[in-house]
């Protein structure tokens, strides 16, 4: 079985039953208190926005009035909490950026533009607190009986999730479907990060920071680090979902096998794997449990110290097994241990400190001035012909 066959099987099942098949048993995005559904298109050279929020009717405006419309729905950097953008087209955010660029500095429209800038930044962070591109989120949660290409079309999801309203208000209904059920783990951590980032954006806006300027070296570096941390955390959150794990067996991210404890002082266990395509290598820290990939059981932790193919089977040696270790002959499931949010924060703090030190021309972005040293003549002679 490959992941492609697994996907095809789910797709055939959905086509047969007429009901979308779940890829996750958890909600992939967090429910948010302040969703704003938006569509945007160009009217000549101006951007027209159609938007609504719970308790507000659908409205449409063009050009500067569109910023006012968004402000009336709470899209302003001065709001007490951020709005969540719901959209069903990848063109929406670029068009909102174009709209935001029309705002003059220091105006009420600029406050809305700054909130749009926050969306532009946070759209790269998973978890759904800032921006939800609904077709992407739907594809993460379900599979339909249509061809994969059809799932990029919002109409497919409205049809399969029984959302009759094809206007922006229908996005609010779709969002409710997406956020139903228990959240994936770590979504609260990601939401906290979004909230912290909104506060930071508010402070920067108050201090006169101009979001229109390209990122400085340090801001870009920290932005990348934060994005990678969020992506790594989200990837780990997905592995906490039993349905996701059932598929991940076929991509080598989740490994199942039969345990054979060695009973030595190093607390080693050999795991004879059911498949050969494990992504785990010597040095990998792993989390595991007794049972199948879809089971929930108390976890053990270990380190992979050897990986060998014996008689056509991959055998992983797990060392330092701590927690409820599997007994001989028991089935066990393992995957790479995910990142710790605490350690991620410590890493970002360390990164920020290096960039804040201002002792380096690289961290400040300033062009350096050489400080010369005398070079021995033999080095001068030997290096003279370098290009």
């Amino acid at each position: 079985m490959t992941a492609e066959w697994f996907d095809l099987g789910q797709r055939f099942r959905a086509a047969t039953t007429g009901v979308p098949v779940a890829r996750l048993s958890h909600a992939p995005i967090a429910a948010t208190p302040h969703p704003v559904a938006v569509r945007a298109h160009l009217s000549g050279s101006l951007v027209t926005v159609t938007a609504c929020a719970p308790g507000n009717p659908v409205a449409s405006s063009t050009g500067p009035h569109a910023l006012a419309l968004l402000a009336s729905l709470g899209v302003t950097i001065t709001a007490s909490s951020p709005a969540t953008l719901l959209t069903d087209a990848a063109t929406t955010l670029p068009l909102l950026r174009r709209l935001a660029l029309t705002a003059s500095r220091g105006t009420a429209e600029d406050d809305t533009a700054a909130h749009i800038a926050w969306w532009l930044d946070r759209a790269d962070f998973p978890g759904g607190r800032a921006v939800v591109e609904t077709p992407d989120a739907c594809r993460l949660r379900w599979v339909t009986g249509r061809a994969p290409a059809a799932e990029t079309n919002p109409a497919t999801w409205r049809h399969w999730l029984d959302v009759s309203d094809d206007g922006v208000a229908g996005l609010l209904t779709l969002h409710q479907r997406l956020t139903a059920g228990p959240d994936l783990p770590h979504l609260s951590v990601l939401s906290e990060d979004d909230t912290w980032a909104f506060g930071a954006a508010q402070n920067q806006h108050a201090d006169g920071w101009d979001w229109r300027r390209p990122d400085a070296t340090s801001r870009a570096a920290l932005g990348l680090r934060s994005r990678c941390d969020a992506a790594d955390l989200y990837a780990d959150a997905l592995l906490a979902d039993p349905l996701y794990r059932a598929r991940a067996v076929h991509t080598g991210h989740v490994v199942t096998g039969t345990a054979d404890p060695l009973g030595d002082r190093l607390k080693r266990t050999r795991l004879t794997c059911a498949r050969l395509d494990a992504r785990l290598r010597p040095g990998s820290e792993v989390t595991g449990w007794v049972g199948a990939p879809t089971d929930s059981a108390p976890h053990f932790s270990a380190t992979v110290t050897a990986a060998e193919v014996e008689h056509g089977h991959l055998t992983l040696t797990l060392s330092g097994v701590t927690g409820p270790a599997p007994a001989s002959g028991q089935q066990a499931t393992i995957h790479a241990t995910g990142p710790s949010p605490y350690r991620q924060r410590a890493g970002r703090k360390s990164y920020r400190a290096l960039y804040a030190a201002r002792r380096s021309w690289l961290t400040t972005g300033r062009t350096p001035t050489p400080t010369r040293r005398d070079v021995p003549l033999d080095v001068l002679v030997a290096g003279a012909d370098a290009d």
């Binding site: 870009a220 932005g223 990348l224 193919v309 290096l354 030997a382 370098a386």
Partner: protein, 432 residues
Amino acid sequence: MRTIPTGTLAQPPTSPSLPPAPAKPSWTAAPIMDDPATAGVLHSAWSGDPAVVVPSPPGAGKTRLVALLAATLAGRADLRVGVAAQTRDQAAELARRLGALACPARLMWPAKHPEPDLSAGSATVVKGRAIRFPNSGGGVLIATTARWIFADPATIGCDVMIVDEAWQATYADLGALGAFAPQIVCVGDPGQIDPVVTGQTRRWADSPTGPHLPAPAALLAAHGDAVSVVTLRHTWRLGPATTALVQPAFYPSLPFTSRRPPEHLSDRHGNALPEVTHQSLNVSAGPGDLALTGTCADLARHLLTATLTTVEGTRPMTPADLAVVAAHVTQAAAVRALLADLPDVLVGTANQLQGMERPAAVVLHPLAGYRDPNAFGTDPGRACVMLSRHRAHLSVVTDAATAGVLAGPDPNLATRTHRTLLAALAAAPTLS
């Protein structure tokens, strides 16, 4: 960007005569002076250039250069030298090389991981409070980039930071490393796989100085006038045929030539095998098609019947002389299973085998089995790594449909590169 000027020995107007010929250098890292390019790197770093970038083709001796440079700057110039590697294995290998040069380098290593074997050299592993430079004179501290970034520049700041495999480091990480030293030396291969970045990068998609970009590329874009560039122009690994295949496709702005001593494989009848061969297959079951992985395994076994001739003589090929490189973990796993009776054959993905070398390699073309020119399969860095692991012989397994897959309208640069590459491979002989 500037290059190291030639003619820096112009006679000063007040000097009555040329200085006496310099004495033959005698320190253990003296071989850095044997080549003008490596000596140019040393001159540039020693004289205080804030940034030196050393683009290098595969097999040009990057690790050797890093070791010689660090040892010389610490031993002769009394500088504190930091070395940032991209993996623990690379860091340990650098420590071994420095130890072999009698350089008392110190390797920062995680306390809970088993210490690497540094052989009998003078390098040592340091942990915890022992992580520091010598109290006086120069010294070398080695660690992964990730480890450096968790360190405190106030306690282990250095004069020069040498970044090994710098094209695998992001510009963001280079900036963080910059907090440790006023001088940076970036050594690496611009043709190989870009840094692994898990987060979204579209915010900087149009920026030549984006934080996700390979560090030297962004450094040159940001501070080109302040960066000295010394190019290594010879590969000691790749033979002439492979150089002719790889250089135009992946290094259009880095011309290099082969200086590999003569090496070849011979079949059981004593006939020399071509340096590059290919085998085209009809594939119907995608990248996991057993025809692909089975052919790779068969070719590997076939090559083990050959003999290897080098300047040291002729001997039978052994499993440890051979690598099989695939694009996907699943493909590599399938080949590994098919070759389970030959555990010494190195089987892995391009990412896993980056930086490794074997006398012969079997490569499964990254687009084999695909029916669309996807970004993963057409990544030039991945193909470049796969096609540059061998010294004497390369066999490439291709999918007969790939040429059609690449023939679509509006090809991007990666697709055009693969078209050129595939045409060159198609012209290579088939291994009989």
